[in-house]
């Protein structure tokens, strides 16, 4: 068996690329990036056929405790009930474990996105180098064989013998081309290069830089952003803190703390809340659930976003009055406040016909409650009967009040009116449902009844968001579009010329979607038309 000489072995060992070189090569490799893009596409598709947790309005969570995966792996995990119902506990756990229930926030998906961004950034160096070379040190000297191939070429003979290079150079400059004169070749022919549309090359640089910038600003925004929700009763003011420290992982918190990001205090007053009861404006299937009986036609409506919140916001000494609506958030000191949902604080009275009893309460819409022997209102926890309670569990599931419109005109003013549901304390089944208002009470017994009071007040729920990366994200997105337009729609021409005596050989190279090389060649010919004549053939 032949033995490899020691020097050769060493050489082979030394020539193997290291990990960093390999990563650099892969970052620079277009086919590899295309493969990464395909993998990103595959995971993205997966994310559209498996419900994603952040988009899911779950009914609740199920905790799977001490179950054995494949018979021996114990686990404890809390999953939205929908996954368990849909896939069963084992598949649901597996999907959750693999991150497929929130794929767009998994480390591997984000790693792939970061890879593409870094690759674009690395590619930027190559593009800068190419654009720099094309702008400042383009290769001018081409061999004679170069002018004998290609579709877009011409051969001309100048009329005047005197200084043909100058004649050609001036003609090309009159066509607004950048001209560089090279060196004579072995046959004594002078080589030239004329360029037009160099901005295209820098458009490619811009495109790659802005892709990287997008990721940088998105990451910056993710680190320093803060968001949350606040519900405000009409006429009241809430003070809350927009804190970048909240809702972050340990790394995010460490960065935020290290960089000293501080919470911003916001004071938000809900001066007025207005929701037009425009029942006839929308088709009934939009405004009620299919099972709704006619009696409750105006109730059980789906989430109507057609409402207005008149607010005053104060942040760091700045005050702003605004009407928050859909598509019309309030912007103050970098904080955006959006409408999210609306609810009510329902004022009601338990009374007796004989006027022995009259007690008023206030409760949030949708919250199940009971009244205790000592006259307190307590929250009902489904499945747990409260021995102190003197009433069945109940809740006001929908509340309407205010002006009712038809064809843009007010036809009546509805007093506070709600749907009252009464539940079985153990099974939570609805045992009674009716409409109750200040004018139409509901009676539980011959003597005891319940009616709404005028104290029913609307609640507007807002989401707030602070993302200092947004201006940068917008800027990078606009630059991406500009870079795409520059790189696709600015035609870039390189016109190579070889001048020997009166004879001129031209070859045009074009890059880009638009542009007409033949027109450029014709223009050159026309510019040289007086002193030149085209060679036959």
């Amino acid at each position: 068996m032949a033995t490899i000489p020691q020097a050769a072995k060493l050489k082979r060992v030394q020539s193997e690329p290291g990990l960093l070189t390999l990563i650099w090569e892969k970052l620079n490799s277009l086919p590899f990036v295309v493969v990464v893009l395909l993998i990103v596409g595959f995971f993205s598709i997966t994310g559209t056929i498996i419900s994603q947790e952040p988009l899911l309005q779950t009914r609740g969570y199920v905790t799977l405790i001490d179950t054995k995966i494949f018979g021996f792996i114990p686990y404890t995990v809390s999953l939205p009930v929908e996954y368990v119902e849909y896939y069963g506990p084992i598949k649901a756990w597996l999907l959750h474990f693999l991150g497929l229930t929130d794929i767009f926030h998994t480390f591997y998906f984000n790693l792939l996105l970061i890879w593409i961004a870094v690759s674009a950034f690395v590619c930027t160096f190559k593009k800068v180098e190419e654009a720099w070379e094309a702008t400042f040190t383009p290769p001018v000297d081409r061999p004679a064989s170069f002018f004998r191939v290609g579709r877009d070429r011409r051969e001309l003979e100048l009329m005047e013998e005197e200084d043909p290079v100058r004649q050609l150079t001036e003609a090309l400059r009159r066509l607004r081309m950048r001209v560089r004169v090279g060196t004579p070749d072995e046959e004594g022919a002078v080589r030239l290069l004329a360029q037009k549309g160099i901005a295209k090359r820098w458009g490619l640089v811009l495109l790659h830089v802005s892709l990287s910038l997008l990721v940088v600003f998105a990451t910056y925004g993710a680190i320093f952003s803060a968001q949350g929700a606040v519900g405000i009763v009409e006429g009241e003011t809430e003070v809350f803190s927009v804190d970048p420290y909240e809702n972050k992982g340990p790394l995010g918190r460490a960065i935020v703390t290290a960089l000293g990001a501080r919470p911003i205090t916001v004071e938000l007053e809900l001066r007025r809340f207005e929701i037009p009861l425009n029942f006839l404006r929308y088709p009934p299937e939009w405004t009620r659930r299919p099972e709704t009986p006619e009696k409750f036609a105006h109730f059980f409506s789906l989430s109507n976003r057609d409402y207005k919140s008149y607010v005053t916001a104060r942040v760091a000494g700045t005050e702003k009055k605004w009407v928050i609506e859909v598509n019309r958030p309030l912007r103050i000191m970098g904080i955006d406040i959006y409408q999210n949902a609306h609810s009510s604080m329902v004022g009601f009275e338990i009374f007796s016909r004989t006027a022995e009893l009259s007690r008023q309460f206030e409760v949030s819409m949708g919250l199940p409650f009971q009244i205790t022997q000592d006259g307190r209102l307590v929250q009902h926890i489904p499945g747990q009967d409260n021995p102190q309670a003197i009433t069945m569990p109940m809740a006001f599931t929908d509340v309407k009040q205010g002006a009712v419109y038809r064809d843009g005109r007010v036809i009546e003013v509805l007093p506070p009116t709600a749907v009252l549901e009464v539940y079985d304390p153990l099974t939570n089944d609805v045992v009674f449902r009716d409409i109750v208002s200040s004018e139409e009470p509901v009676f539980f017994t011959e003597n005891i009844g319940l009616k709404l009071t005028e104290r029913t007040r609307p609640i507007s729920v807002f989401t707030y968001k602070y993302n200092p990366g947004m201006p940068g994200i917008y800027l990078a997105s606009i630059l991406i579009i500009l870079g795409t337009l520059f790189s696709l729609y600015i035609p870039y021409y390189e016109l190579y010329a070889r001048v020997k005596g009166k004879r001129v050989q031209l070859r045009l190279v074009r890059q880009g979607v638009v542009g007409n090389p033949r027109r450029i060649l014709r223009e050159v010919e026309e510019e040289l038309n007086d002193p030149a004549r085209r060679l036959p053939g």
Partner: protein
Amino acid sequence: MDRIELTRLILIGTGAGYVLSTVGYITYATLIRKHLMGIIANALLLLTFLLHTLFLLMRIQDYYTQERGFVTPAASLFEALSYASWMAALIYIVGEVLIRNRTFGAVVLFIPTVLFNYGLLGYTVNKYLADLPVRAIDPAGIEPRPLMPALQSIWMTLHINTMMISYAALFTGGALALLYLIKYLDDKGISPERLLSKWVVAGFGVWYLTKVYFHFALPRYDLSVRFKGAEVSTPTILGVELLLTAGKALVGVAIIYLVAKIGRAISQSVSQETIDALSYRFIAFGYPLLTLGIFLGAVWANESWGRFWGWDPKETWAFITWVFYTAYLHNRLVLGWKGLRSGLLAIFGVFIVMITFVGVNYVTAWFETPGLHNYMPGNF
């Protein structure tokens, strides 16, 4: 005649007009290559386009009366299909003027014809053939409906118009790539009809088996819903489904034979390189608009929902489309992919755009994935 009845008549006229003008272009490209025939085809298309424009203007007027402002008539699935087909027809008309070759219409006009009539079919089936075991798209949109508050935004106009132009350009690029493929296969001595028909039949076969699997594995995809409560045995259900699928496959094969015949006729007057370059130019026109449209949609989402990007299924598919066409352009510009490989990507791109545009509604419905872009009433 009331306004709704007039709208219906205009829509039926438009649907029929697209079919007739496509037939006119096919006749011109394959049977009667006479100037007069070309003029007739042009006239049919222009008349249809004007009729379609009239419908859009009426719908704009409806929205203007209702909302006191301009609204792009693309607020429901039908309107979106109608608007996309109008945009595709417009792009074709402009393209024909620029290219000065009307034979392409025989293939490219399939796009507005299919998109528009698909929307119209849903309405017709629901309105007049409701008792037949045929499901169709939601007819909402044929008759003017109130606009959801979230759609009352200038960003909607900007976003939708940009996206529609880009979709129309990408569709056209794909259709031209199909022409290229036919010519390429012909030149290689391979029958494009046979090859593509095999793929279509195989595709429908996989589709049928998937449906059968879903029928047995997932009760909510029960195929018996087609029979609207009538008691039918399982073999009958599967048999009817097989017949329907086979029927669709047959239509697909017939279209392929027709397109191949048209493609062959067109390719007599246009070179492979020209078709390839045209396909590329349409895609390169659509790509920046796709990028801009996604950005405008993201700005709108930020205004309306309080987030720039939320990986909603529609957004995700828009991202997939963007990634796909980015790869297409990279392959073309940097790796020098031209001709066959580039053409195959362009054809595949049409499927991706179709999923982004319409299919994502079905994907989210089938897999019960939540989404905010569903052209559906509900969370308004």
